[in-house]
């Protein structure tokens, strides 16, 4: 067999890749066809969309239930972030494989996986069924989500700390808690604050959504405005939510800068 290779051979896709590309195209055509996603349907949809968007203007900020809804969302976000991150600390310490025996860290990981398995809205649906409509259900749902998220990140941060610093603290005769306080916490505290800021920002967004399933906050107001075809009010609410999320973003940046 000749060892010469032409330039074309280098860049020509392999048979396997060609098959994947071809399969992808076939599936897209099949999916669009079975969903009735024809050109005519898309054209009709754009027409609906234009009328829908026209209904947004001018946005209506005058209705009195925007402010209480927003404030409730804000409260849900802050309370769930506080409870969630506080609960995440012991869960993360227990889950860190470099601090705990395998059986213990494994059970910690199980808690984290459980908290992370479902979208916050799914947990909110369950929480509403479990403890009734209102902000309390929203706080519970977002707290569980926060434990999963912050717990996972913090556990990973703890697993990445320098063993040498831990060794030195152990060598002084420090107790396990002494090692945590002087060896582990100083190494992860800044990253933890970053996680808390990020999670608070995420909860601010999620807290506007749990209301859709009856777990309190501005989401409920938004949902009922939709059902009334009250689109100018919807626009007002959406703009307020965007403003709230942007404020959260700015707060997160400030916190990160201060604690760098």
């Amino acid at each position: 067999m000749s060892a010469t290779v032409t330039r074309d051979d280098f860049f020509a896709p392999s048979i396997g890749r060609r098959l994947i590309y071809a399969g992808l195209i076939v599936y897209v055509v099949y999916a669009a066809a079975t969903l009735g996603l024809s050109l005519e349907r898309i054209e009709r949809g754009i027409g609906y969309g234009a009328r829908f968007l026209a209904g947004f203007f001018p946005p209506d900020f005058t209705k009195s239930d925007i402010l209480p809804g927003l404030l409730e969302s804000l409260q849900i976000a802050f309370l769930s972030s506080l409870f969630g991150t506080l609960l995440a600390i012991p869960v993360a310490l227990v889950s860190a494989r470099n601090l705990m025996p395998r059986v213990v860290s494994w059970s910690g990981r199980l808690i984290i996986t459980f908290c992370r398995s479902f979208h916050p809205v799914i947990i909110a649906i369950i929480a509403v069924k479990a403890i009734g409509f209102g902000a309390a259900a929203g706080v519970v749902a977002l707290t569980i989500a926060s434990v999963g998220f912050v717990g996972k990140l913090l556990a990973e941060a703890i697993e990445e700390i320098s063993e040498k610093q831990i060794e030195a603290v152990r060598a002084t005769g420090a107790s396990f808690m002494g090692v945590i306080v002087f060896g582990v916490i100083p190494q992860v505290v800044n990253r933890f604050i970053g996680f808390v800021a990020y999670e608070t920002d995420a909860n601010l967004r999620n807290s506007t959504m749990v209301g859709v399933v009856g777990a309190g906050g501005i989401g409920g107001t938004l949902f009922s405005a939709f059902q009334r075809f009250d689109y100018d009010f919807v626009a007002g609410i959406v703009i307020c939510i965007i403003a709230l999320v942007m404020v959260g973003e700015v707060l997160q940046l400030v916190v990160k800068r201060v604690f760098r």
Binding site: K164, A168, T172, G173, G178, V181, F182, G183, Q187
Partner: protein
């Protein structure tokens, strides 16, 4: 009377492949004992077995009327308080201040709650300031450890170890990451401070000349065994060849 007495110490990380084989060593209550030997010959393992950062496979380590090899839990922690350790890479907690690092030498004596609130006893804080002054870093108390140079960090490491009020000071290649001038300064500091506090020192060291200059006794290790134990003056080319092997590196 010896401060530390090691009897038949052995360590196998992997069964059947001993790193330390039947090491016995008596360390006097004062002075510097230098352990030399090629990399991987068990010097670090020996030192870490003494304060049980590594668990020995067999043997006794007698220190202050206890066999350290048999201790565990609280008894081990209480024994560790009496053994200071200085590390090759300083091992300071980088995000804590110099003062906090020095005070961490008291963690065996105060509760975690006290440590968390930083409410160390007055006497501890006063001693920490005194030690920082002695190592020449009094002005650095509030600086974060990761802002210091290597030599400064090792000074903090020495202050932290002495903060424990130890009955024995271990140093695992304390000068291997430092330039020659700083290495000498660190060795001088350890010698002087240990003499002041009446603490014997065991130091692992790669620089034979530095060891000769500061140690009253040299222990040469090879293949997990002690092959030389005696005065620095007795350490000639023949002995160095027995410790490190080869001879092309020796000065004629």
């Amino acid at each position: 009377m010896s401060a530390l007495s090691i009897r038949g110490l052995a360590k196998e990380y992997v069964r059947g492949k001993p790193v330390l084989r039947d090491v016995s060593l008596d360390v006097a209550a004062a002075g510097i004992t230098a352990i030399i030997g090629p990399s991987g010959t068990g010097k670090s393992t020996l030192i870490r077995c003494i304060n049980r950062l590594i668990d020995p496979t067999a043997g006794e380590i007698l220190f202050e009327d206890q066999d350290l090899a048999r201790l565990s839990g609280r008894a081990l922690r209480l024994a560790r308080r009496r053994i200071g350790m200085v590390f090759q890479e300083y091992n300071l907690v980088e995000r804590l201040t110099v003062m906090e690092n020095v005070l961490s030498g008291r963690l065996g004596y105060v509760s975690a709650w006290t440590a968390w609130r930083r409410t160390f006893p007055e006497a501890d804080v006063a001693r920490a300031f005194h030690l920082l002054e002695r190592v020449g870093l009094a002005d650095f108390a509030r600086r974060r450890a990761d802002e210091l140079s290597g030599g400064q960090r090792q000074r903090v490491g020495i202050a932290r170890a002495l903060m424990q009020a130890p009955g024995l000071l271990l140093a695992d290649e304390p000068t291997s990451s430092l330039d020659p001038k700083t290495s000498v300064e660190i060795m001088e500091l350890m010698r002087d401070l240990a003499a002041e506090s009446g603490v014997p020192v065991i130091v692992n060291i790669h620089q034979v000349d530095l060891a000769r200059r500061f140690a009253g006794r040299m222990v040469g290790m090879s293949g997990g065994r002690i092959v030389y134990d005696g005065a620095p003056e007795g350490l000639g080319n023949a002995e160095l060849k027995a410790i490190y092997g080869g001879e092309s590196w020796l000065s004629p």
